[in-house]
Assembly symmetry: C2
Homo-oligomer: 320 residues x 2
């Protein structure tokens, strides 16, 4: 049984009648949006990452899932493994606490468990949010819908690449890697109008194709339209290679929304400074992803993103 | 910073005003009781345990937390680490699914993550229940309250001891170790009448003393009154040593309730077959635990139970 089979099976189990309110990345219960994401040392973060940044990111990963559903943070349950290095844990909690304060996400429960000596940490968070007027799934896009990207992509991956060259590097891109900002207000403004929405965590191309597959649509994307930050452009440029790097790196905390083509999301009550662009169009053929750069066709890269994470609760089944 | 300091700090963070509904082991939000418990390979279960039993127990551990609060199961989010042995995961899911069906706890979400090769698994579950009329904390016991134990203790630990001698052993005690039964209906009948309640997971003596400490009471317990199963008695007998073994082993899925002394819980609408006994009395002195066997004083054993698990969400702070 491979990972895809496991996810398919979990979704079958999760299709129990009592789970009727189910919406893919998150569960919906009594107006509460509930999600759980874990991160593992050596897979989702580097053992040498500062522990406060790991705590901050664990909060941000889960807040980004709430943002994609337009939910407002209510509370979180932390699942903390203790590996005997309590200095690490103290600084990890600094990061949890700072993000909790920053984004109004109080810690309301959880557990700590011991791990065998030397075992990699596994850190989990259950995030609970209050649903807004509508909670879009990832499977509701229809042909001719526009795919919008809220936020930029590539900064975090570029920051990681810099750190891999020089562990003591600093700068905007390193900051973006260590201290991502979930787009809660933008998500609350846009999600209720979206046919489908999700956050970008594993790579823009991979996550966008997951949305298309779950919606049984095809998707045409234009790399030239993908918004990049000035810091990213200064480091990597804007050619196809740079854009493919940005669109497959993941760890982005950006949002994807499938919007009716006639809706101009800039008319919505967005927070100032929201970067947003139309990056693609859904098509009727359930034909996967087609990529171009302006007028030029671009072959799909070998990897569309990172496949080391899966969400269980999908009524449709998306590509694991 | 040791584990106690970490827990204290987490509780301080969890004392955020928005977490007002907080009740120790669980969080209470909009009439939903929410809890999260994780288990780690090599700490909370043996690598050689059959994977279906690990899945069953992960559900049971969390259902037992709901039972202690009198909550009815609503849904669960599974956090599953994938270590590359998909046979193991398949049978683990068999156990999750079986317990989900048995106890009416549908899986409504969660995530899967990859782990580094060879890393011990960490498996987590967020359990969500519907609160009953009252959701007792662990800190509400008052002097003269009676401490009642619902269920028996020792079976699971006796089963584990048998398996450690003979990995292929079978029998009632091995079954109790592998397939524990959370006392949901009894909890729903008793919890709304309890000043304090919690489940017994780390050892009866340890958990009872935690309830006393959190309630700023002392506690006198009589080992002779602790209910034991026939299978346990056949294997271990009923002397003080056997009883101390049963009362410190943990992994019990029994419930503890602090009840007003005038209340006879046998008058409550309990499921048939509920084993229940008054095992102690709370006292006004905040003087810890005093143990006897009938008329005879018994010194406290060196270890009251297992300290490898901590719950974060306590407004009072209990002994970690």
């Amino acid at each position: 049984m491979d990972e895809r089979t496991i996810l398919t099976r979990l979704r079958r189990t999760a299709a129990h009648p009592a789970a009727r309110g189910l919406v893919d990345d998150v569960a919906l219960l009594d107006g509460l949006v509930i999600t759980h994401d874990s991160i593992a040392e050596g897979v989702h973060y580097r053992p040498e990452d500062p522990p406060h940044s790991v705590g901050w990111k664990l909060m941000a990963v889960n807040l980004s899932d709430l943002a994609a559903k337009g939910a407002a943070p209510v509370g979180a349950l932390l699942s903390l493994t203790l590996s005997g290095d309590s200095d690490w844990e103290e600084h990890f909690l600094d990061g949890i606490e700072a993000a909790a304060e920053q984004f109004g996400m109080p810690l309301i429960g959880g557990d700590t468990i011991a791990l065998p000596d030397g075992a990699p940490r596994v850190l989990g968070l259950t995030a609970i949010g209050r649903a807004s007027a509508a909670t879009p799934g990832r499977n509701g896009a229809t042909a001719k819908d526009a795919l919008w990207l809220i936020g930029t992509v590539g900064d975090s991956t570029a920051g990681l690449a810099i750190l891999q060259q020089d562990a003591k590097a600093a700068g905007l891109l390193v900051d973006a890697y260590r201290r991502p900002i979930p787009l809660l207000a933008a998500g609350q403004a846009i999600a209720p109008h979206s046919h489908a929405s999700m956050d970008v965590s594993d790579g823009l191309l991979l996550d966008a194709s997951r949305m298309a597959d779950a919606s049984q649509c095809g998707l045409e994307m234009d790399l030239a339209s993908v918004p990049l930050s000035s810091a990213f452009v200064a480091e990597r440029g804007t050619d196809v290679a740079a854009r493919l790097f940005a669109c497959t790196g993941g760890d982005d905390y950006a949002l994807l929304a499938a919007l009716p083509p006639e809706l101009d999301p800039f008319t919505l009550p967005l927070p100032s400074g929201t970067t947003m662009a139309r990056v693609g169009t859904f098509t009727s053929a359930h034909a996967g992803l087609a990529l171009r750069f302006g007028d030029r066709k671009v072959p799909l890269p070998e990897s569309l993103g990172h496949e080391h994470r899966g969400h269980i609760a999908s009524p449709m089944g998306d590509r694991p």
